[in-house]
């Protein structure tokens, strides 16, 4: 029994001496002592000495939360030659000293918590962790820059990696961008080579136009079903010549890639550099699929690649690790009437603006008003549309990238069209990042962009112009600008597919559907669910440099995992007491991991030998939730480390 002061964290409200004395006489306790910092190296060595001196078989530590230092004390126990699972921790800091002010009261509670820990320890049995093999292949879900970079890095380390991308091409949002801040280099120029690398890499397999259907298993041993949507074009045969797209008579579908600023054919590739360069048929738009008549593409395809009969295909594969890189979308602006987004075509989002700027975009890079294709003279940028908002249609968080890309847009405009007036309405300009503030200052100082501290209250289409009413907080006045083009910087949100994926992966998510990291500071690229890693915006808003950095970090974590031959499992797994088992299958039905199977087995039950149908737990699959233990009516199923008797002993000790 070791009681920690945690400096004054515990000792200030809990009489550590009293706790030590009170538990000294508990059954099984042979040593009781206390110290300033149990977690320090010095004290850990005295734990070792105590174990050796008194031949201890178990240790109770009264200290901070087991979530903090349980591994530390287990290691110390193991180092002392004890079974590491013969350690119990009474949480007398987070759950006692920190929440209670009255010292006698807190002391009394600490004693009870310590007794409960002793009661549990008395029933502890040495446990040995099982081992499970690692499938040396990773799955990356999402083929944007995050996914591509992660896959490239994993493949570079020599492991096989698959990318599943739900759209027909990899590339993601970055492929849509024109220039990138703060260096203003061309997005496509830096992304396309990576896309090509990914396609060419021997170790990388691309599943585009595909989605994850189901995920089973656990770290090191995931089984994933991937649904390959029918492209209606045979990828093996297609040469990517593009004739089918030219000839397709259905050309009225809004181009997703161009943010609806142009149309595309029913058989299409999203953009010229798409990878793979194999078209897909949008069956909703295709005349052949809708009416049965047409078939032009089939006729013009010399490679005979068009296949109207193609069906979705389910591919089942094994992975050791899974990386979520599902990215983001700008939020829908339907609920922001004040900016007239749905009323005027000249109110656009910044992603639409990217397409307008882009030389490969619908206007070949000419920034023109979508309504009349005139060059705008006065352009207003509105920041924080839906970001940092606590009302229903917005997001509470800062979307992080808007300040910088708006500065970029303003700068590009002023550079290309020196005659324009560019206003940026901001609440705050946030530029933490290397060369970011300098970049923003250039927009103000060198490019004469009008930065106005204030918010646009109203945009009203008026005689072919946009009347922008806003406040200028510094001047303390309301200003009205007659603008030609208004560019909104919408908040970004996780891709809607993330929620379902999170459930499949059993990876936890926050209220905004961003994946939660295992630790916000110390484990930022891992999900709390073992074997699931996070890359890119699916974890939280971030720009390209951050995304690439995180992608690399996620890759290194994956590589670390895949480089192991075996994983040491959690020894706190379910266990079936065979003579008690009824073979009723209830546990099998509630096990989320499919860890329980039934087998006919000879059972020796108090003098009777019979062949019975009994449950058997796959220790590698079992994650130790305990659902089976409660479902089991006979109590045959128990959970090591949290046995029925142990929990009841704790209850008893607490209620004594």
């Amino acid at each position: 029994m070791f009681v920690c002061w945690c400096g004054s964290n515990i000792a200030a409200t809990v009489d550590v001496e009293a706790v030590t004395e009170a538990v000294r006489t508990e059954p099984g306790v042979v040593v009781a002592t206390n110290s300033q910092y149990m977690c320090s190296e010095g004290w850990q060595s005295s734990i070792r000495n105590a174990v050796a001196e008194h031949k201890l078989t178990g240790i109770v530590v009264c200290a901070c939360s087991p979530r903090m230092h349980e591994p530390t004390f287990r290691k110390a126990a193991a180092a002392a030659g004890m079974n590491p699972y013969m350690v119990e921790i009474a949480n007398i800091r987070e759950q006692c000293s920190w929440i209670h002010k009255d010292k006698p009261e807190a002391t009394e509670k600490a004693i009870i918590l310590a007794r409960a820990a002793v009661a549990k320890l008395n029933l502890d049995k040495p446990l040995t962790a099982g081992e499970s093999p690692v499938t040396k292949r990773a799955l990356v879900i999402g083929g944007g820059i995050a996914g591509i970079q992660t896959a490239l890095d994993i493949a570079d380390a020599g492991y096989e990696v698959d990318i599943v991308e739900k759209s027909p091409t990899i590339g993601g949002k970055m492929a849509m961008l024109d220039k990138t801040f703060p260096t203003l280099d061309c997005s496509a120029c830096i992304l396309t080579p990576k896309m090509v690398d990914a396609a060419a890499a021997e170790k990388i397999s691309l599943y585009t136009y595909s989605e994850v259907e189901s995920v089973k298993g656990f770290v090191g041993n995931f089984t994933v079903e991937i649904r390959k949507h029918a492209r209606s074009v045979n990828s093996e045969l297609c040469t990517g010549c593009g004739v089918c797209m030219e000839k397709c008579p259905s050309k009225k579908t809004k181009s997703e890639f161009n943010q609806g600023l142009s149309n595309r054919s029913a058989i299409y590739i999203p953009f010229a550099q798409a990878i793979p360069n194999v078209p897909v048929i949008d069956r909703e738009a295709c005349i052949k699929f809708q009416t049965g008549k047409c078939g032009v593409c089939e006729k013009v395809c010399t490679a005979k690649a068009v296949d109207y009969e193609q069906q979705d295909e389910i591919v089942t594969k094994q992975y050791g690790a899974i990386v979520a890189a599902t990215g983001f979308n700008p939020i829908k602006l339907d609920n922001f009437d004040e900016f007239a987004y749905s009323q005027s075509p000249d109110v656009i989002t910044s992603l639409e603006f990217e397409r307008l700027c882009n030389a490969a975009g619908p206007t070949k890079g000419h920034v023109v008003r979508p309504s009349d294709h005139e060059e705008p003279k006065t352009i207003v940028f509105v920041q924080c549309v839906g970001s940092r908002s606590t009302v229903d249609c917005g997001k509470t968080y800062c979307s992080k990238i808007c300040c910088m890309y708006t500065a970029k847009h303003a700068m590009l405009l002023r550079e290309k069209y020196p005659g324009t007036e560019v206003y940026v309405f901001y609440i705050d300009v946030r530029t933490p990042g290397k060369s970011f503030d300098e970049f923003y200052r250039r927009a103000v100082e060198e490019y004469n962009v009008h930065y106005v501290k204030g918010m646009v209250g109203k945009v009203a289409p008026e005689d072919g112009h946009l009347r922008v009413q806003a406040s200028d907080l510094i001047a303390d006045k309301q200003i009205i600008i007659d603008a030609d083009l208004v560019v909104l910087a919408p908040a970004i949100e996780p891709d809607p597919s993330a929620r379902a994926l999170g459930t499949m992966l059993t990876a936890s998510m926050d209220t905004n559907d961003f994946f939660t990291e295992a630790h916000p500071k110390l484990r930022p690229v891992e999900s709390p669910t073992a074997g699931i890693f996070l890359s890119g915006v699916c974890q939280g808003p971030k720009d390209i440099p951050d995304t690439v950095a995180q992608a690399g970090a996620a890759a290194s974590k994956v590589i670390g995992l895949l480089s192991k031959d075996k994983l040491i499992g959690n020894p706190c797994v379910a266990e079936c007491n065979e003579p008690l088992c009824n073979g009723c299958s209830a546990c099998e039905l509630v096990c989320p991991y499919g860890a329980i199977t039934y087998e006919e087995k000879p059972v020796f039950d108090h003098g009777v030998r019979e062949t019975r149908r009994v449950a058997s737990v796959n220790e590698a699959l079992c994650q130790g939730c305990g659902a089976c233990t409660v479902t089991c009516p006979s109590g045959a199923m128990d959970l090591k480390g949290f046995t029925n008797l142990q929990i009841m002993a704790e209850v008893d000790a607490i209620c004594r």
Binding site: E94, Q95, C96, P528, C625, V630
Partner: protein
């Protein structure tokens, strides 16, 4: 009846908390220094689905005046589905206890995430208050466990 020197009733309350959400939520309440009564003692379980109705009854047998179970929010279970099973089990158990005339206020289930230290402390304060107002548990107790002798 356990009464402190100020003459107020001090209930015994057992809280089962799942390791991943609620126990972490309790830790957060601790690190945020959010106060709740010392009458509440937490038992850590891997998942709310590990909480057997037997344990709840056991607590009452041993003299608990209230038992609360906390788990991850539905949809957030670390083990995907544990809290769904726990939810059904507890709903039915509470219905049965109520049917037997045991006061409803003595049992409770609350979903507390790792981020909800505030909610954890709030829930505990509220629950302790309810249990306190109900007084000592008489309807489901084992007299043998209450005796000072034996």
């Amino acid at each position: 009846m356990p009464i402190d020197e100020k003459g107020t009733f001090r209930p015994k309350i057992v809280a089962f908390c799942c390791n991943w959400c609620s126990y972490a939520g309790a830790d957060l309440a601790g690190s945020s220094r959010l106060n709740y009564p010392a009458d509440i003692k937490i038992i850590r379980v891997p998942c709310s689905c590990r909480v057997n109705p037997l344990f709840m009854l056991r607590a009452f047998q041993r003299g608990a005046d209230g038992v609360i179970m906390c788990g991850c929010h539905p949809g957030d279970c670390h083990y995907t589905s544990g809290n769904y099973f726990a939810r059904r089990r507890m709903t039915l158990l509470f219905g049965m206890l109520d049917y037997l005339g045991i006061e409803k206020g003595r049992t409770r289930v609350e979903w507390v995430s790792a981020a909800e230290g505030q909610k954890f402390a709030g829930t505990m304060n509220q629950f302790a208050e309810t249990v306190k107002s109900l007084g000592e548990c008489r309807r489901i107790e084992d007299l043998r466990c209450k005796e000072s002798v034996g």
